[in-house]
Structure formats: C-alpha cells, structure tokens
Symmetry: C2
Subunit: 451 residues, 2 copies
C-alpha cells in the first residue's frame, strides 16, 4: 500500500521586477520600488498535479531576506500529510505562528510573519485547487463553524469571541447563494491608483485620471506627502479633471507625524479628499485616532503595513480608522485576514483592501468577495484597490471591467505566475537582471561615497 500523500517540497524563488526604471509605484516613502515577490511553491506526491502557489510581496532590496525566512519554515511543512494540512488550515496556520522558538522573531510581525503568510496562502491555493474552486468560493461555501475554526482568537477576546464570530457568520448565511450569483454576474467594485504616483507629471496624472473615469471607475487615488505645493496643485488638477462626483482618495504612505498630517490635509480639504491613507506610522493607533478626530469628515484609512490582527483590533477599538485596508501578503495569510474581516464586521467598518505591487490584486480579490458572500454581506462603500501593473505575469490574472473586478472562476488563489516570468525575473541570475549593467538597479545607494 502506498503511503499517504505528503507535502514533499517548499520551493522558494526570489523574483524582482525593475519597476523603478519607470517610477511606477513611486510614493513619498518609496521613491523607487522594484516590485518583488518572495515566491513559494508547495509540492506534493499526491500525483494529482496540484501545487500551492503564493508569494510575499516586497519592494526590492530585502526580497532575499524574505525568501530566506520562507525557506526557514520548510522543515515545519515538508512531510505533513496533504489531507491533514488542507483539512485543517486553521490548525496548520496556528502551528506555524505559535512555534515557541520562531515567535521570538516577531511575534507575528515583519519578515517571519509575512513568511508564515506566504506559506499559509500557498496551502489555501493548494486546498482550493484540490476542491476545484476559487478561494473566494471555497471560503464562501464553508459552514460558519468551519470558518470560526480558521481563526486564531488569541488576544482578540476583548473585541471578538468565537461566539461573536459565529453570530456574524450565521447572520450572513441568508442570501449566500444569491450573492455568489451576483458576484459571478457583476463582479466587485474597484478603484484605481494608476493615475496618482508621485513620479508622474501633471499631464500624465490628469490624462490617466480622465481615462479612469471613462473606464468606469468611481474612485481614484493620489499619492501625497512629498511637497505640499505640488500636492495642492495635483489635487486641484485631479479634481478639475474628474469632476465632483468621483471620489479622490489620497495616500501619504506614513510620511507625517500626527500634527503635520492634520495641517497638511487641511490644505487639501477644499478639493474634498475622500480618505487619507497611512497619514502616519502604521503602528500608531493613538496617532491615527487623533488624526481622524481632527480631520472628520475626511476619512482615515490604513492597513497595508498593519502587522497583525491585534493592531487592527485596536485601530477599531480606538475609533482610529474609517476604512480597514487588509493586505493579502502582510499578515499571517488567509486565516488572519478572516479574523480581520470579522473584526471589521463586528465594528461595522468597511474593508477596502490594499493591492497593487505584484500579485496583491490577484490574491486579495478573493478575500473581499468572500467577505461579501459570507461576512459583511454587503459591497456598500467597499472597493478593492486596482493597479494595472505586472498582471501579465500571472496565469489567472485579475480582470477589471467597467471599474469592477470580475469574479475569478479558476480554482485556487490566482497567485500563480507564468513559468516564463519565474525564469526571466529571477534575481540575481535571470536574464532581466544579468542584462543590466553591473551595479545598476536593486542595490543600495552608496550615498556616503558621493561626498
């Protein structure tokens, strides 16, 4: 008798795109990102052809550190029975984040937590492929009890108990099938950040903003925080370009201290920004609360750098944010994002995911769609960020039509890249990188040698 199928390998790849060459993705704190993926493949000996693919996103340098951390988790994964992992993804996720020695490196934050997230997401990709469903539907068809079993409630019980979670999920059971049908027919609303990168000229900004409206988007986003004069001019131009009925969010990428955030945003208030995103440190719960109090009715949004569910819990408890911005690759994977969706539902705060980078749109769409089917049960005031970069490298890329994400139907988490991309953009040995001049791209500035 053959032995039971097991996970036999965790392959990790360092994949980098030289996006800094065109200033795509430039903001006040990330002037020249090279969008990168610490990419993971779970392989099994089940013989069914299914692999689990996912990635941790980084902005270039340090992608090797992230990849090394994922590789360090391989001994926790290789050898496990496939059916056990896929049958208890909650237990699998907890076994990684609770390891008593590894948790010193976090706990549950930064490099080690994103490594956990990448592996957990890859396991969800594998499990959903085996079930023949896209992850949003795989989740959306689970029982409330099974969904509660996915969540690590440690440190949450002053805001969300398993009982609370069960109540939320049971309330949302009515109408699940209709909402699945609605998603398949109409998709999920998106907004676009493509016009608003700091490195773009005013002409490029307003041209892209008008194109976005024509394409059906009802919300765009601009990066701010490098120069107040520039921001006022750009905001004014964008408002003139799109008219009064399109929402314009702005994003400072953590650039300010608390009072400077308030002062700066007051200068933009005439142009009615919809939300200010990451006004200050992502760790500063009390700071976000102070900014929100001072700037209302401008909304405050954050999340792409929020380390874990405990920080989200407090942002909600403190009334610090109007918008929860989950990110598919920042926290401990699908399981922790279920906890965060439940927290948001408990506090009645809409979730508008962060996406962009590479693969983040592909993965996070599943979480918003699941939220619509089985948690908040609404799309009201909810939009998924959309950035039109690098989707061509994915086997099942997102499709945005009339300003809405089309619900994916292929099984899995949509994070699988094409073989050609994995070869071409491998760092440092792939042809895209070896063809660049020695010393160019993806190296630290050696500013100390300029003087």
């Amino acid at each position: 008798m053959p032995s039971i199928p097991r996970i036999i390998a965790v392959d990790v790849l360092d994949i980098r795109f030289p996006t800094s060459e065109h200033l795509d993705g430039s903001d006040a704190m990330n002037p020249e990102p090279d969008y990168s993926a610490a990419y993971v493949v779970l392989r099994t000996d089940a013989g069914d052809g299914h692999e689990g693919h996912a990635l941790a996103f980084t902005t270039g340098r340090g992608n090797d550190v992230q990849a090394n951390a994922i590789a360090a988790l391989a001994p926790y994964v290789v050898g496990r029975p496939v059916a056990q992992v896929c049958g208890d993804l909650g237990g699998f996720a907890r076994s990684l984040s609770h390891d008593p020695q590894l948790r010193w490196l976090g706990p549950e934050k930064g490099v080690i937590h994103m490594a956990t997230g990448a592996i957990v997401n890859a396991a969800w990709d594998l499990a959903a492929k085996r079930a023949g469903k896209p992850v949003w539907r795989f989740l959306g068809e689970m029982s409330p009890e099974d969904l509660v079993g996915q969540v690590d409630f440690r440190w949450l019980s002053d805001a969300l108990t398993p009982r609370d979670a069960l109540d939320i999920l049971r309330r949302a059971q009515a109408g699940r099938a209709e909402r699945i049908e609605h998603l398949l027919r109409r998709g999920y609303p998106a907004y676009t950040t493509s016009p608003g990168w700091l490195g773009y000229s005013d002409e490029k900004l307003t041209g892209l903003a008008r194109e976005a409206v024509t394409a059906g988007f009802t919300q765009i986003k601009l990066k701010v925080g490098a120069s107040l004069t520039d921001d006022i001019r750009r905001m004014k131009a964008a408002r003139a370009a799109v008219g009064d009925h399109i929402r314009i969010a702005v994003d400072a990428n953590q650039r300010w201290d608390v009072q400077p955030a308030v002062d700066w945003m007051r200068q933009l208030a005439d142009y009615h920004p919809y939300w200010i995103e990451e006004p200050t440190s992502p760790d500063d719960i009390l700071g976000h609360a102070a900014v929100r109090r001072a700037l209302s009715p401008i909304k405050v949004a954050t999340g792409e750098h929020v380390a874990n569910r405990v920080v989200f819990k407090q942002l909600l408890q403190a009334g610090a944010i109007d918008i929860v911005q989950i990110d598919a690759a920042r926290v401990g994977g699908v399981n922790e994002n279920i906890a965060i969706l439940l927290l948001a539902a408990r506090f009645g705060v809409p979730v508008c995911p962060h996406a962009g980078g590479v693969g983040l749109c592909e993965m996070v769409q599943h979480l918003s769609m699941f939220d619509y089917v089985a948690v908040s049960a609404t799309m009201h005031d909810r939009v998924i960020e959309y950035v039109d970069h690098l989707h061509e490298h994915f086997i099942d890329p997102v499709r945005v039509v009339d300003g809405r994400y089309v619900a994916p139907t292929a099984p899995g988490l949509s994070a699988q890249m094409r073989e050609a991309a994995l070869t071409e953009y491998a760092y440092p040995g792939g042809p895209v990188w070896t063809s660049r001049a020695q010393g160019a791209g993806n190296r630290p500035d050696q500013a100390w040698d300029a003087s």
Copy 2:
C-alpha cells in the same frame, strides 16, 4: 597617501547554546528555548585593532533568518569611512532604518529591525572602543546637543520633540560627574529571574529565591501563566521563602487575553506581586491599559517584545504601563533606546530593562547607567534584570556584586564573545552541535507525525 580607513567587512555568525536541555529560560510561551545569537563583527582597515561586536538575540530556531537579515545589510555598511560612521551614529542608524526598499519588511519591527539594531550596536561598540570608553560613559559624557542628534524623532513629535529632549538632557547635566563616580563606586541595582523559570521544581525555586536574598537582591521574578494552581502554589512558596520585604515580580510572557490576565492575577494578589510583566500581546497597547486599570496597585511592565519607539510612545501616552522594559537587541540599537529612555523620562516612568538570554545583560547595563548619568538622573525604583546564564562566554562579562551590576570600565558595549565560544557553539557546524545526535535539538517538533 593612504586612503581613509573604512569598514571592510560585516562578519555574521549563527551561535546557539543548547539551553533547552536543562529548561533554563523556560516560560509559558517559550517552553524550551535554545538561547542564540545572530552575532556580528564590523571590521575596518584602520589598523588600530578595534572591531565592533554586537548581537541580535533569538531563542533558537530562526537564528539563521536573523543572521541572514544582518548579512543582507552588509552592502549598506561595507565601504563607509570609519570616522564618518563613528562620528555620526545617529545618521548611520537612520540611513539603515530609512532605506526606502528595505523598510517594507518592517517598517522598523521584527527581523529587519533587530538586524539594524545589531549593526548599529556593533557600530557603538566600535566607536566607544576607539574613544577608549565603555558605552555608558561614552554616552554619558556627550553634550545634550550631540545626544539629541542620535535620535530619530520621526513619529514622536506628539509626545517628544527635539526641544523636549534637550530640556530633559540639560536638566540632567548638573551632577553628571558625581553620578559617574557613584556608579563606579556602587554600581546599579539588579533583580534576578534565575529562581523563577517554569521548568524548575518548587524546591529549586525556593532554594534559589533564598540564595538570591542572601546574595543581596531585593527583587526576584517568577514566570507564570501555564497553570493557575501551580502559580498560586509557587507564588505562595516564594513569598514564604523571601519574606514580605522582597519584591516579587511575575511574568506571563504574553500568555493571556485581557480579561483572563485580570482574572488570573487577582488570584495571585494575596502574595503581593510587584509587577505583572507581558500580561498579553506586546502589540496590545489598549489591552495593557485595561489590565493596568483593573489590577492597580499591581504594576504593569512590558517591553522585551515591544517593536519600536512608536509603540513605547503609545504605551506611555495611554497610561498602559508602570515600568518601561527596554531591551538592548529588540529595537534599532542604542539610538532608538536613547529615544525610549527620553520618552520614559518625559512621562516620568521608570525604566527596568529586560535582560538575560545571551549577551542582553552585557549590553543593556550600559543603557541604564547612561540613563542614570544623563537622562533620568535617578536609580529610584529602577533595577536591571539579571540572569546568571552564559556570561562565561564573554570577554568582559557582567559582574553582579551584592545585588548590583558593577559598572564596566573596559571600552565598548561588552558584547564581545570569546573566540572559543564562537567556534564551539557555531550552528550547525560547531562541535557542541555536531556531537549531538542527528535530529536532536533545535529542530521543529514534527507533531504531525506523532498521530
């Protein structure tokens, strides 16, 4: 003319001690730690024989991840002029933590931040050796203006401005020389955790507790949080062993949610615990505040897992803690700890450092002594944790006499290990590890194969 001296290498070593074999260091969240160091050496071509030594502490598995992260920072360090680094350690520290691509991995938390901290601490070791002073005195003799220049005030200005910092430091200028003399004569108070590890029997606990009192300690600490019945019995035994006038702190190592922390501690209140340390998640500012409100007059302490100055700022703003527990190796090095000492002084909260592990006592004593000389200017209600493990591996180990740390006089940060230790405990190739059976020690439990 020879070129100016530069940093020519960043050597990184993975050093692990098999401490789990004797349950030294066992607590409710870390049942079997193998105390480890991701050890760094900065080498220069100055020809003066000085190197910079420091380490990031971990509890075993994952020490390779931490070492890799330090190695990834080498390109930011190698090639820099020694005089420039040692002459502007504030600028050096900021250049590492502000790198626009690497900061995605944090920002300023977890693996990448501890890597920054290790390198920054090694640079302080180097600078202090070149100045011929122990770090506490090197810092304690800097001007207030130079000390303010060490601090990254980003995200702090709602609680601490450069002006506030200057006021604190200028007020403490009077009496600096006398306090240096006092330190050299009398040292700095310590407390000991050696009796209280969870893995120890009651007999070992009470025996070690009595020894601690005989040795001059006025405070001891017990680990709690695994079993309430055991904790009540151990606390009662410890109180009986040491009498009413010795402070007994307890430490839950993040084991509880908010309400369970309150409920559990109320069961220990009869034995007058002095502080409860890490009652819940280190990220849970609001949770700590709730625990403190409920348990007063039992004090609340935290810090060994507090990721950075922004979280400490909020713990102080929210009135969440009575005791700030800095850690030499958790945050971005000496510079960020100066910021945290200044925040504590601004809020009038005493600093009682976390130490133990390997090398943490050696490094952190410098920070408390500097605080006494130039920041808070007092030792009142302040004690440095002391654990009597692994000091024999250091060239300039801490010395604790009559329950007090003796002020070190050798130049540097005291973190330099003996060559023999660096060879013997190298992981996985050193003789201590190769002599152990295949599969033993420092590998993940493969619990999934037990069923």
